[in-house]
Protein backbone atom coordinates (compact mmCIF):
# COMPACT_ATOMS: atom_id res chain seq x y z
CA UNK A 1 0.00 0.00 0.00
CA UNK A 2 1.18 3.46 -0.82
CA UNK A 3 2.02 5.92 1.92
CA UNK A 4 -0.70 8.41 1.14
CA UNK A 5 -3.34 5.79 0.99
CA UNK A 6 -2.20 4.12 4.18
CA UNK A 7 -3.09 7.48 5.71
CA UNK A 8 -6.66 7.18 4.49
CA UNK A 9 -7.56 5.20 7.60
CA UNK A 10 -8.35 7.22 10.75
CA UNK A 11 -6.90 4.65 13.18
CA UNK A 12 -3.62 4.68 11.29
CA UNK A 13 -3.53 8.46 11.35
CA UNK A 14 -4.07 8.33 15.11
CA UNK A 15 -1.29 5.77 15.47
CA UNK A 16 1.07 8.08 13.59
CA UNK A 17 0.04 10.98 15.78
CA UNK A 18 0.75 8.88 18.85
CA UNK A 19 4.16 7.93 17.45
CA UNK A 20 5.22 11.41 16.47
CA UNK A 21 6.27 12.39 19.96
CA UNK A 22 8.10 9.20 20.84
CA UNK A 23 8.53 5.63 19.64
CA UNK A 24 6.15 3.17 21.31
CA UNK A 25 5.95 -0.57 21.82
CA UNK A 26 2.98 -2.43 20.31
CA UNK A 27 1.54 -3.04 23.78
CA UNK A 28 1.75 0.64 24.69
CA UNK A 29 -0.03 1.56 21.48
CA UNK A 30 -2.73 -1.05 22.03
CA UNK A 31 -3.52 0.43 25.46
CA UNK A 32 -4.25 3.80 23.85
CA UNK A 33 -6.72 2.61 21.24
CA UNK A 34 -10.14 0.99 21.57
CA UNK A 35 -9.20 -1.72 19.09
CA UNK A 36 -7.68 -5.14 19.67
CA UNK A 37 -3.96 -5.74 19.76
CA UNK A 38 -4.07 -7.87 16.60
CA UNK A 39 -5.86 -4.98 14.88
CA UNK A 40 -3.14 -2.57 16.00
CA UNK A 41 -0.53 -4.99 14.67
CA UNK A 42 -2.32 -5.13 11.33
CA UNK A 43 -2.40 -1.34 11.09
CA UNK A 44 1.28 -1.18 11.99
CA UNK A 45 2.04 -3.68 9.28
CA UNK A 46 0.20 -1.54 6.71
CA UNK A 47 2.07 1.55 7.87
CA UNK A 48 5.36 -0.28 7.74
CA UNK A 49 4.66 -1.68 4.25
CA UNK A 50 3.94 1.88 3.16
CA UNK A 51 7.28 2.96 4.59
CA UNK A 52 5.75 5.31 7.15
CA UNK A 53 6.95 3.55 10.29
CA UNK A 54 9.79 1.24 11.16
CA UNK A 55 10.33 -1.06 14.10
CA UNK A 56 13.16 -2.51 16.10
CA UNK A 57 13.09 -5.35 18.58
CA UNK A 58 13.44 -4.38 22.22
CA UNK A 59 13.44 -7.43 24.44
CA UNK A 60 10.32 -9.42 23.68
CA UNK A 61 8.53 -6.43 22.20
CA UNK A 62 8.69 -4.39 19.00
CA UNK A 63 9.09 -0.64 19.24
CA UNK A 64 7.64 1.44 16.42
CA UNK A 65 8.76 4.87 15.24
CA UNK A 66 7.76 7.28 12.46
CA UNK A 67 9.89 7.04 9.35
CA UNK A 68 10.02 10.56 7.94
CA UNK A 69 11.55 9.58 4.59
CA UNK A 70 8.44 7.50 3.85
CA UNK A 71 6.23 10.44 2.94
CA UNK A 72 6.25 10.60 -0.84
CA UNK A 73 4.80 13.42 -2.89
CA UNK A 74 1.21 13.56 -4.11
CA UNK A 75 2.59 13.60 -7.62
CA UNK A 76 4.46 10.33 -7.12
CA UNK A 77 1.37 8.71 -5.65
CA UNK A 78 -0.83 9.74 -8.56
CA UNK A 79 1.77 8.81 -11.14
CA UNK A 80 1.85 5.28 -9.77
CA UNK A 81 -1.95 5.26 -9.55
CA UNK A 82 -2.48 6.06 -13.25
CA UNK A 83 0.30 3.77 -14.39
CA UNK A 84 -1.55 0.82 -12.85
CA UNK A 85 -5.05 2.05 -13.65
CA UNK A 86 -4.47 2.59 -17.37
CA UNK A 87 -2.89 -0.80 -17.89
CA UNK A 88 -5.90 -2.39 -16.22
CA UNK A 89 -8.25 -0.38 -18.43
CA UNK A 90 -6.39 -1.65 -21.45
CA UNK A 91 -6.99 -5.23 -20.31
CA UNK A 92 -10.67 -4.53 -19.59
CA UNK A 93 -11.21 -3.19 -23.11
CA UNK A 94 -9.93 -6.46 -24.56
CA UNK A 95 -12.46 -8.60 -22.68
Amino acid sequence: MHALDALGNPVRRDILRALRTSPLAVGELAERFPVSRPAISRHLRVLEDAGLVEHRAQGASSVYAVRVQGFASVRDFLDEFWETALSRLEELARE
Binding site: H2, A65, D79, A93
Partner: protein
Amino acid sequence: MIEKSVLLACEPERAFTLFTERASDWWPAPLRHTDDARSEIRMLAGGRFWERASDGREVELGRVTAWEPPQRLILDFYPGTDPEHPTEVVVRFADEAGGTRIIVAHGPKSESADRWQDGAPRFAQAWDLVLAALADQSFM
Protein backbone atom coordinates in the same frame (compact mmCIF):
# COMPACT_ATOMS: atom_id res chain seq x y z
CA MET B 1 1.31 17.82 -14.31
CA ILE B 2 1.09 14.10 -14.94
CA GLU B 3 0.18 13.04 -18.48
CA LYS B 4 -0.40 9.45 -19.40
CA SER B 5 -2.24 7.74 -22.18
CA VAL B 6 -3.29 4.30 -23.28
CA LEU B 7 -4.88 2.95 -26.46
CA LEU B 8 -8.02 0.90 -25.80
CA ALA B 9 -9.24 -1.58 -28.38
CA CYS B 10 -12.79 -0.20 -28.48
CA GLU B 11 -14.95 2.74 -29.56
CA PRO B 12 -14.91 6.01 -27.56
CA GLU B 13 -18.43 5.31 -26.25
CA ARG B 14 -17.34 2.03 -24.73
CA ALA B 15 -14.09 3.54 -23.43
CA PHE B 16 -16.08 6.25 -21.63
CA THR B 17 -18.42 3.63 -20.16
CA LEU B 18 -15.52 1.43 -19.04
CA PHE B 19 -13.87 4.37 -17.37
CA THR B 20 -16.93 5.62 -15.52
CA GLU B 21 -19.05 2.51 -14.88
CA ARG B 22 -16.32 -0.08 -14.43
CA ALA B 23 -14.03 1.93 -12.18
CA SER B 24 -14.41 -0.83 -9.58
CA ASP B 25 -12.61 -3.12 -12.02
CA TRP B 26 -9.70 -0.89 -13.00
CA TRP B 27 -9.06 1.02 -9.78
CA PRO B 28 -5.84 -0.39 -8.28
CA ALA B 29 -6.87 -2.64 -5.40
CA PRO B 30 -4.13 -1.56 -2.97
CA LEU B 31 -5.05 2.09 -3.49
CA ARG B 32 -8.60 1.94 -2.19
CA HIS B 33 -9.60 4.17 0.66
CA THR B 34 -11.86 1.64 2.28
CA ASP B 35 -9.13 -1.06 2.44
CA ASP B 36 -11.66 -3.30 0.69
CA ALA B 37 -10.17 -4.65 -2.54
CA ARG B 38 -13.72 -5.41 -3.77
CA SER B 39 -15.23 -2.03 -3.00
CA GLU B 40 -17.54 -0.44 -5.55
CA ILE B 41 -16.28 2.76 -7.19
CA ARG B 42 -18.53 4.93 -9.33
CA MET B 43 -18.47 8.28 -11.02
CA LEU B 44 -21.87 9.60 -12.07
CA ALA B 45 -23.19 12.16 -14.55
CA GLY B 46 -24.82 14.09 -11.72
CA GLY B 47 -21.50 14.85 -10.07
CA ARG B 48 -20.98 12.18 -7.44
CA PHE B 49 -17.78 10.14 -7.34
CA TRP B 50 -17.62 7.67 -4.50
CA GLU B 51 -16.33 4.39 -3.15
CA ARG B 52 -18.48 1.98 -1.16
CA ALA B 53 -17.04 -0.96 0.75
CA SER B 54 -18.91 -4.26 0.94
CA ASP B 55 -19.78 -3.50 4.58
CA GLY B 56 -21.55 -0.31 3.47
CA ARG B 57 -18.90 2.24 4.46
CA GLU B 58 -18.86 5.01 1.89
CA VAL B 59 -16.31 7.67 1.10
CA GLU B 60 -16.41 10.54 -1.39
CA LEU B 61 -13.47 10.24 -3.79
CA GLY B 62 -14.12 13.55 -5.49
CA ARG B 63 -16.62 15.30 -7.77
CA VAL B 64 -17.44 14.99 -11.45
CA THR B 65 -17.14 18.56 -12.72
CA ALA B 66 -17.57 17.86 -16.46
CA TRP B 67 -19.40 14.88 -17.98
CA GLU B 68 -19.14 15.00 -21.76
CA PRO B 69 -19.48 11.47 -23.18
CA PRO B 70 -17.77 10.20 -25.18
CA GLN B 71 -15.09 12.91 -25.38
CA ARG B 72 -14.21 14.28 -22.02
CA LEU B 73 -14.52 13.82 -18.28
CA ILE B 74 -13.19 16.16 -15.58
CA LEU B 75 -12.89 15.16 -11.95
CA ASP B 76 -11.98 16.85 -8.74
CA PHE B 77 -9.91 14.12 -7.14
CA TYR B 78 -9.34 13.56 -3.40
CA PRO B 79 -7.22 10.36 -3.19
CA GLY B 80 -3.69 11.28 -2.24
CA THR B 81 -4.92 14.47 -0.56
CA ASP B 82 -8.31 15.23 0.99
CA PRO B 83 -11.55 17.05 0.08
CA GLU B 84 -10.12 20.42 1.13
CA HIS B 85 -7.16 19.99 -1.22
CA PRO B 86 -8.49 18.45 -4.44
CA THR B 87 -6.35 17.79 -7.47
CA GLU B 88 -7.89 17.79 -10.95
CA VAL B 89 -8.03 15.06 -13.59
CA VAL B 90 -8.96 15.79 -17.18
CA VAL B 91 -9.65 12.59 -19.10
CA ARG B 92 -9.94 12.81 -22.88
CA PHE B 93 -11.20 10.02 -25.11
CA ALA B 94 -9.76 10.44 -28.59
CA ASP B 95 -10.91 8.40 -31.58
CA GLU B 96 -7.82 6.86 -33.13
CA ALA B 97 -7.02 4.16 -35.68
CA GLY B 98 -7.32 0.89 -33.82
CA GLY B 99 -9.44 2.18 -30.97
CA THR B 100 -9.69 5.00 -28.48
CA ARG B 101 -6.82 6.77 -26.84
CA ILE B 102 -7.50 7.71 -23.24
CA ILE B 103 -5.37 10.68 -22.24
CA VAL B 104 -5.17 11.48 -18.55
CA ALA B 105 -3.85 14.88 -17.47
CA HIS B 106 -3.67 15.15 -13.70
CA GLY B 107 -2.46 18.25 -11.92
CA PRO B 108 -2.82 20.35 -8.81
CA LYS B 109 -5.52 22.95 -8.26
CA SER B 110 -4.77 26.14 -6.37
CA GLU B 111 -5.76 24.42 -3.11
CA SER B 112 -3.30 21.56 -3.65
CA ALA B 113 -0.50 23.41 -5.45
CA ASP B 114 1.88 23.50 -2.50
CA ARG B 115 1.51 19.77 -1.80
CA TRP B 116 1.93 18.62 -5.34
CA GLN B 117 5.62 18.60 -5.98
CA ASP B 118 7.41 18.53 -2.73
CA GLY B 119 6.17 15.52 -0.90
CA ALA B 120 8.14 14.68 2.13
CA PRO B 121 8.26 17.82 4.23
CA ARG B 122 5.21 19.68 2.96
CA PHE B 123 2.74 16.89 2.75
CA ALA B 124 3.58 15.33 6.02
CA GLN B 125 3.40 18.71 7.71
CA ALA B 126 -0.19 18.75 6.63
CA TRP B 127 -0.68 15.63 8.69
CA ASP B 128 0.85 17.42 11.61
CA LEU B 129 3.52 14.83 11.97
CA VAL B 130 6.86 15.73 10.69
CA LEU B 131 7.94 18.72 12.67
CA ALA B 132 7.76 16.77 15.88
CA ALA B 133 9.46 13.80 14.27
CA LEU B 134 12.21 15.96 12.79
CA ALA B 135 12.86 17.41 16.20
CA ASP B 136 13.71 13.96 17.42
CA GLN B 137 16.72 12.84 15.43
CA SER B 138 16.41 9.33 16.81
CA PHE B 139 13.73 8.77 14.18
CA MET B 140 16.08 9.39 11.31
